[in-house]
């Protein structure tokens, strides 16, 4: 390889300067600063005093933090265990040969992703409203539903979606928003699976389930891991959806998530130190998950090469 010319080196730095500058000023410096802030008590951006590790113990002994953690974990688990398998199932359906209207289905199922978390949450406040919302109105119009629900569960169709069952409602909206997004990744992966492998397995007498388990699933493993990681990281950082749906004011901390708790600490109580401590607790979990994923992906690609 020829030695890099001076002109080439200089061009590289010019082209990379926006990235390097933004990375140092707006990512690396705040990262270091957040470690320092996490060990201070601060009121707004100015007044700070060092308090050692006490922010961390305050966070970890705050019952609201644990409610937030519980809510976040429930929503994350629901997303990984329900939304992802559904996305894969839909991708398998859309990947069937000779399916009519494939592009139209993909379009319609993906479309909610464009709505965005904030606007979806905002629409949900009217859509799921207890007395007048679309969902409860629709349920009333189905004959018999009113009495049936009343006898079975003891509630009327004025189902309190937002006031009492906000996690369920967030989950439903999450499903609506993300099922198509994940499906698109799975579908792209399925379309790149070598068709001759599937055919060979069919000739060898493998049934549809065996073909899926032994041929398709291993072939889409890396994309599955990637989508899994994206969904995990995204759900763990959930904030806007419940925040907007509850108008920033959670009834008895129902619907508070970890990032919402961070926001409360940093920008409602104005303690940037506490907010940074929460950030590090969450950050360590997420960075750990990313490392596990990178390590296993690297391990696999090394095995594949051998």
């Amino acid at each position: 390889m020829a030695r890099a010319s001076v002109a080439e080196q200089r061009a590289a730095w010019i082209l990379l300067s926006p990235f390097v500058l933004a990375a140092v000023v707006f990512f690396l410096y705040p990262l270091v600063e957040s470690a320092r802030l996490a060990m201070t008590q601060s009121f707004g951006a100015n007044a700070t005093r060092p308090v050692g590790m006490s922010n961390f113990s305050s966070v970890l002994t705050d019952p609201i933090f644990w409610i937030a953690t519980q809510n976040t974990v429930i929503l994350t688990a629901a997303s990984l265990l329900v939304v992802l398998p559904m996305s894969l199932g839909l991708a398998l359906l859309l990947n069937r040969p000779n399916l009519k209207c494939r592009a139209l289905y993909r379009l319609v199922i993906f479309m909610p992703q464009m709505v965005g978390l904030v606007f979806a949450g905002f629409i949900a406040t009217v859509f799921f409203a207890k007395d007048t919302g679309f969902v409860n109105q629709l349920l009333t119009q189905i004959p018999g539903v009113n009495t049936l629900l009343h006898n079975l569960f003891g509630f009327d169709v004025q189902f309190p979606w937002l006031d009492r069952h906000v996690l369920l409602t967030v989950f439903i909206i999450n499903l609506w928003l993300w099922v198509g997004f994940n499906m698109v990744y799975f579908l792209a992966a399925l379309q790149s699976v070598d068709k001759s492998l599937v055919e060979a397995a069919t000739i060898d007498g493998a049934g549809p389930f065996q073909r899926f388990k032994n041929v398709t699933l291993p072939a889409i493993k890396s994309v599955t891991a990637f989508v899994f990681l994206l969904a995990f990281i995204g759900s763990m950082q959930l904030f806007e959806l419940p925040y907007i749906m509850l108008n920033g004011d959670p009834p008895q901390n129902r619907g508070v998530t970890i990032v919402w708790y961070l926001y409360q600490q940093g920008f409602e109580i104005d303690d940037l130190g506490m907010a940074s401590a929460v950030g590090w607790i969450l950050g360590i979990v997420l960075i750990g998950a990313a490392f596990v994923q990178f390590a296993s992906a690297r391990h696999e690609s090394r095995e594949a090469r051998l």
Binding site: L15, A23, L99, V108, I109, F122
Partner: protein, 285 residues
Amino acid sequence: MNSRTRRIAAAWPHLILLPLSIVMITPIIWLIAAALKSQTDFFEYLFFPTTENGWMIDFSRLTTQHITNLFGTAGMGRALANSCFLASTVAVLGSFCAAAGGYALARLRFKWAPFVTALVLGLLIIPPPLLLAPTYKLMFNLGLLDSYGAIIFPMIAPAFGVFLFRQATLQSVPRELIEAARVDGMGELTIFMNVALPLLRPMIGAFMIIMFLATWNNFIAPQVFLHSTDKMPLAVAVSRLRGVYYQDYGLQMAAALVSIAPPLLLFLLLQRDFVSGLTSGAVKG
């Protein structure tokens, strides 16, 4: 089994996909109806007001009153303009700078290349909420609070974009082409502008949409870094409508419709590029 029954049997995926598609699109249809219904019709009809026989939309009962109010008394025109400005600025600047960085990492030889590549990968795994509090303090110290700089500067060359463009360059800008341009006496920056950029055009289109949407739907940054009402983009302005127009559901839903219409239109026009750009990082083509 004759061919007809077989054809019907093969259609079973539609039994799942068709109802599901209807459910997926229902909130959007409902939203359009809600934004166009008068206050009296709002709870009277589930969707659109219908004519006597119940099967046709009664267009004469639809109203654009909410949309007029939205841009008049509610002042949402300003928020719409702010959103358009922020999202397109970030889309154009972010894509250009990310393309420049990705190209340099993939094809130019310089001493610190491994270090910068590690920086890109490292930034990818930092969760944004971790940086929220220190960035607030930084913006305060830089005097950028309540200015668009606080929104735009951190997004100027996202690591995610640099990474995508690095992969795209490796795939679609052949080294020989660059060498040939050098032999022809082209300068390094001219090569990037005139040789590499045109080859990266599909990825630039996809990434511009990704950045546009990310900024358009970003709530937390403007909520935390901006203070003046007249600087707020739609995501924040719309979320605050409920405080003022408490019971005016028609106006609220008109605001939501106006807010999601540009991303939806953009998506419908460019969905092929967008989806392929989205998945290109994860699925090896």
